[in-house]
């Protein structure tokens, strides 16, 4: 059974290789092949889950060491997999949602001439993501980490003929690279400190302490901060969040799979996986919490201002991941809820994105919500599934988001002290804003007057429901959005499932769970109400009003890009230009100047070579004269 673990990764990888190398003859059925490989991987995942459930809790973790990868004396990197409860949760989320989105893409990308490549990249993404969550050491995790970055790059820039897509892809990769730098420094720190970077020896497993306990807190804080930097890059947390909005240039299934459900949550996985390190480094944890809290609000505000449906959802993703990071930063009281929110978020956000994709599909790829309106009549299935996702994300009681978010808010309060109050307040505020902007999206898209206009070529959009390959995944995900949370909370099943890996502690909340739930619900209702007052009662202007300074800033991603541009890009390119000048004029100029000087002196000197033999004879004679004179002088002295 354990031999299935490598196959989990191998199946989609084989699919990607097959599709990329197979050439045109696979154009006709390549997408089904890819979907099959994804489904196969999902099946392997289910089989492994079944096998894991059949074992005792203590024996659930499985290690498979494939081969020695980079052996250099003390530096021993292996290709090995570690499958435990945490990994399998991710595996199932990735392959499950992944398969659904493959299926969805069959319909969504039906008319794209490069569909085969698209599916190859999707499969490549699955393989990399699975590698990321299955790796048993940080270096192999790093491979998956950058692998998903590559897949993300390829998929964001899939429509390469659009310069905006190409730029967005490049930006995503670059910002992620900054994060990756953090990960590689973290690995170097681990190696220098412990001589290893494998999970088992380093972090310890259930019952055994890892080596991290030996190190000083300063070192661990450094490692933790570097890991956080990596997480920020991948999970679009402040200050490395700027790429996510632009990443919406990619096809919508990509946004659903990579930039909502799976890849962007890798940061949460990394922090949860490294729990042993963070638990021993409180300063690092505090930083994690702060980053999560800031991003939570940041993303939410951005989400409120965007008129582009996908960008609004992207802001929401950022904000929701902020929740997870915050929860993960809380330590043992939050890890499980971070992962739980991650999974439920995977369902409802993927569903929301697919819904958005369906809307765009029916609206000639129009993304501006101000050009939608009243679509519920035209695409009922989309409306219903999107609506369920909407209810889930705002935390409507009984749906998935309600349970997971509620737990995080509870845990935030449970942090205790002033910190607890601040964090609780922030999460509550976030919940309210979430309700606000999601209601806004809902109202602008599906309710009110129809506001669509002919596109640039004069085609009036004819909103229509999507084909069944697209509808089925939306429906399945809607089910997940509705029931997953309840299922997980029932008997605290998810808690017991993950506890052996992440550990768990109950904090002492100053508020009772019921109070928290009530306040949360109140905040949610308030958010919905404000939103309805603003967008539900009066017609929405097609041209966005100027808005307040905050709105304008939020529309520009709270000036993040402007900041980056002013602080990094412009000085950077100025530096590069200056160095180019220095290289050609300074270093080369020095060398060429030397050459020119020698050349100049020589060309003067060569005039002595006038070609007259008598002149040469004179030089010789003069030389002899000097020689004789010198000799005589030397002898007389």
């Amino acid at each position: 059974m354990n031999s299935l673990i490598p196959l989990l990764v191998a199946a989609p990888l084989a699919g990607a290789a097959l599709l990329l190398l197979g050439g045109r003859r696979l154009d006709r059925f390549g997408h089904w092949l890819a979907t099959a490989f994804a489904a196969l991987s999902f099946a392997f995942g289910l089989a492994l889950l079944a096998s894991m459930l059949g074992r005792e809790t203590a024996e659930r973790q499985v290690d498979v060491n494939l081969f020695s990868w980079i052996p250099v004396n003390g530096f021993q990197a292996d290709v090995g997999f570690q499958l435990d409860q945490l990994s399998i949760t991710f595996v199932l989320l990735i392959t499950g949602v992944g398969t659904l989105i493959h299926l969805y893409s069959v319909g969504y990308m039906a008319h794209d001439e490069r569909r085969r490549r698209f599916f190859a990249y999707l499969n490549l993404f699955l393989a990399a993501m699975l590698l990321l969550v299955l790796a048993d050491n940080y270096l192999l995790l790093y491979v998956g980490w950058e692998g998903v970055g590559l897949a993300s790059y390829l998929l964001i820039g899939f429509w390469q003929h659009k310069p905006s897509a190409a730029t967005a892809a490049k930006k995503a990769f670059l910002v992620n690279r900054v994060g990756d730098m953090g990960l590689s420094i973290a690995i170097m720190l681990m190696f220098a400190e412990f001589g290893s970077f494998a999970f088992g020896p380093l972090l310890g497993s259930e019952g055994t302490a890892g080596a991290v306990g030996q190190a000083s807190e300063g070192k661990l804080t450094a490692i933790g901060l570097m890991l956080l930097l990596a997480a920020c890059g991948k999970s679009a947390q402040v200050p490395l969040q700027s790429w996510l909005g632009d990443a919406m240039e990619g096809p919508t299934p990509v946004s659903a799979l990579i930039h909502a459900a799976t890849m962007v949550t890798a940061g949460v996985y990394l922090i949860t996986r490294s729990a042993s390190i963070f638990n021993l480094a409180p300063d690092a944890q505090t930083t994690v919490v702060v980053v999560g809290a800031v991003t939570l609000i940041f993303g939410a505000i951005v989400g409120c201002a965007k008129d582009d449906i996908k960008k609004a959802l992207a802001g929401s993703t950022m904000s929701q991941i902020g929740y997870m990071i915050l929860a993960a930063g809380l330590g043992p009281i939050g890890y499980v809820y971070a992962i739980m929110h991650l999974v439920t978020h995977g369902f409802f956000k993927a569903g929301l994105f697919l819904g958005a994709g369906s809307v765009m599909h029916g609206m000639n790829d129009e993304v501006n919500m101000r050009h939608y309106g009243g679509l519920r009549k035209y695409m009922p299935v989309t409306f219903v599934t999107f609506g369920l996702g909407y209810l889930a994300i705002i935390g409507f009681p009984g749906l998935s988001g309600f349970f997971s978010k509620d737990k995080i808010i509870e845990a935030a309060f449970a942090k205790g002290g002033t910190e607890g109050w601040i964090l609780g307040g922030v999460t509550l505020l976030g919940a309210a804003i979430t309700a606000f902007y999601m209601t806004r999206v809902m109202l602008l898209t599906f309710f009110g007057e129809k506001r669509w206009q002919p596109d640039a070529e004069g085609h009036e959009p004819h909103p229509h429901e999507s084909p069944s390959t697209m509808k089925i995944p939306m429906i399945v995900l809607a089910f997940g959005s509705v029931f997953a949370g309840g299922l997980f909370t029932l008997n605290s099943s998810f808690l017991h499932w993950l506890e052996p890996v992440t550990g768990h502690a109950e904090g002492d909340s100053p508020l009772s769970p019921l109070t928290v739930t009530l306040i949360t619900t109140l905040c949610m209702v308030a958010g919905v109400a404000v939103s309805y007052l603003m967008y539900g009662r009066s017609p929405v202007p097609v041209v966005p009003p100027v808005g307040s300074a905050l709105t304008r800033a939020a529309r520009r991603d709270l000036l993040q890009d402007d900041f980056n541009h002013a602080v990094l890009v412009r000085p950077g390119s100025a530096l590069a230009a200056a160095l180019v000048y220095f290289d050609s004029r300074g270093l080369d100029g020095f060398v060429n100047g030397l050459a020119a000087t020698i050349g100049g002196v020589s060309s003067r000197l060569r005039r002595i070579q006038n070609g007259y033999v008598r002149s040469y004879a004179l030089s010789m004679f003069g030389g002899t004269l000097v020689l004789v004179a010198t000799t005589l002088l030397m002898r007389s002295v």
Partner: protein, 543 residues
């Protein structure tokens, strides 16, 4: 005594002579005979090199398959060859790349295609052009192979310098299609610059070689034999006074730093790589320059251990500057080939950093880096060459949207680029990470700063890719055809090797590690031990 190593070096040398002697002509048939003969010779060399690698026992003696022939007896100079782990992998690299380069340069020397020939195809130089080009490449290969295998300092020096002659003609005589009327002047400038820089380095080294001999002779070691000298140095039988050792070290190092090239001695490389054909550029950066870094590892560390340690921090700083400087300049380039050249400068910074970090990870990483950089840059540069040969321009701004019209070309270019930016899973990642880790364990600050290099690498590669391959299809690239079979045959092995060595580099590390350990023991260095080793942890399991 086996003759394997001599044969490995002699086959390309003989092939060069044979190729040059083939009947001249301007018709395609005669040219094709020349090309096929050259390719066959290079493949035979590859077979011999593979045999060397197979016969080489990783656990065995430091130098294996040794051969020695008396040459200049009065100075104790022998023509001795011997393969150690580091040399063996570089021999393999050379033997793999040369056939690829030959295949990639198939038409570069045809007067009507490449620049540099005169208009009249019947002139003598044009009739002999193809033969000359292929013969020169084989000559370079032979000399590089001897340099990698020489265990005699003098023999190494001779071939290290002799390489300049064919390289000079390759750079100065053969350009790519992008050359305008200005290009002949630019090319000869580049060739002369290459020659002068390297000659200067070589002269300084010659002085140091003579100085070494004089000092060694004073103490009874009238020989240029490297194992004897390094052994004597290690055993304390040959004691060089510190000032003299430093001077000699700098003499050797200067030559290697020029060749490598290390900042600030790098400015010849962008010119040379920019003006020559893509094949020649690959030869320069992937093969010839490696002799410099290889020699640092073999000669500088072995002969002058104390001076190496003294200068290591300074050299590390220079290499760090090189990493950042090369990357930043690559970002600022407008010319595809010059961009790749500056990227190479950045990479050479990594290699030199790995060598002088004096850790086994660093040096193994540096050795692997030499191989991987060779392969990945070859992929990137040769595909760039194919691109340039189609459009006839080296300027990035002249391209755009190539992905749409030539997807395979764009894909290959992307893979080469991703390898250049050290994407995990591809070969350069392994080496780059090893170098970084190796540096970090001894010099944490330098290691961390160097890590910024990977961000910059991503920047220049992706900007290059975005500007040339994506976006709306420019009129100038419309109708550009995709890679042809010959070009695929060039790209495929490189891509395959990049992936293979990224996933399973163990065969190489097995060969390299013992040699690196031996080198480290020569400088009396050991890896810094981790503060809290995993093995010591109770309950921790050692893999």
């Amino acid at each position: 005594m086996s003759y394997l190593l001599t044969a490995t070096c002699a086959v390309p040398a003989a092939g060069a002579v044979l190729t040059a002697a083939l009947p001249a002509g301007t018709d395609d048939g005669r040219r094709r005979v020349t090309k096929i003969v050259a390719l066959a010779v290079s493949l035979a060399t590859l077979a011999l090199a593979a045999l060397v690698a197979v016969r080489f026992e990783p656990g065995g003696a430091r130098y294996q398959l040794t051969e020695s022939y008396s040459w200049i007896r009065s100075f104790g100079i022998t023509f001795s060859l011997g393969a150690d782990g580091i040399g063996t992998v570089l021999v393999l690299l050379t033997a793999v790349l040369v056939p690829v380069v030959l295949l990639a340069s198939w038409h570069d020397a045809d007067p009507e295609r490449g620049a540099g020939g005169t208009a009249d195809p019947a002139t003598f130089e044009n009739r002999r052009r193809t033969q000359a080009f292929f013969a020169l490449i084989l000559a370079v290969e032979a000399m590089v192979l001897v340099s990698f295998l020489a265990t005699d300092v003098f023999v190494f020096y001779v071939f290290f310098e002799a390489m300049l002659i064919p390289m000079y003609f390759l750079i100065g005589g053969f350009g790519d299609r992008a050359g305008g009327p200005e290009s002949a002047r630019q090319r000869s400038y580049a060739a002369v610059k290459f020659l002068l820089y390297n000659l200067l380095g070589g002269l300084v080294m010659l002085a140091a070689v003579i100085g070494l001999y004089v000092i060694a002779q004073d103490q009874g070691f009238a020989t240029f034999d490297l194992p004897t000298l390094t052994g004597a140095v290690a055993d304390g039988k040959l004691v060089v006074n510190p000032t003299a050792e430093k001077a000699l070290f700098l003499g050797f190092f200067f030559a290697f730093a020029v060749k490598a090239p290390l900042w600030p001695l790098h400015t010849w490389l962008p010119n040379a790589m920019g003006e020559s054909t893509a094949g020649t550029a690959v030869l320069i950066t992937a093969v010839v320059d490696k002799v410099g870094t290889f020699a640092m590892l073999r000669f500088c560390l072995g002969l002058f251990p104390d001076a190496s340690k003294t200068f290591a921090p300074a050299i590390l700083v220079l290499s760090l500057i090189g990493i950042m400087y090369g990357a930043l300049l690559a970002v600022g380039q407008k010319d595809i080939k010059r961009l790749i050249a500056y990227a190479s400068i950045s990479h050479f910074g990594f290699i030199i950093m790995g060598i002088f970090a004096m850790t086994s990870q660093g040096q193994s990483g540096a050795t692997l880096y030499m191989v991987n950089h060779g392969i990945s840059t070859a992929a990137l540069m040769l595909v760039a060459g194919f691109l340039i040969s189609r459009r006839g321009s080296r300027l990035i701004a002249d391209y755009g949207g190539v992905q749409k019209v030539a997807p395979v070309l764009a894909g290959s270019f992307l893979i080469g680029g991703l390898a250049t930016l050290s994407l995990p899973g591809l070969a350069p990642f392994v080496s780059e990470f090893l170098v970084l880790v190796g540096t970090f364990t001894r010099y944490p600050v330098i290691g961390i700063i160097a890590t910024f290099g990977i961000v910059l690498a991503a920047l220049y590669v992706l900007v290059l890719y975005q500007r040339t391959m994506t976006g709306p299809v420019k009129d100038s690239v419309r109708g550009m055809h995709d890679l042809k079979v010959r070009e695929l045959a060039v790209v495929a092995p490189l891509v395959a090797l990049t992936i293979l060595l990224g996933v399973y580099p163990k065969p190489l590390t097995d060969i390299v590690n013992p040699a690196v350990d031996a080198t480290l023991s020569q400088v009396h260095e050991t890896d810094p031990a981790p503060a809290h080793p995993v093995a010591a942890t109770p309950g921790g399991e050692q893999k």
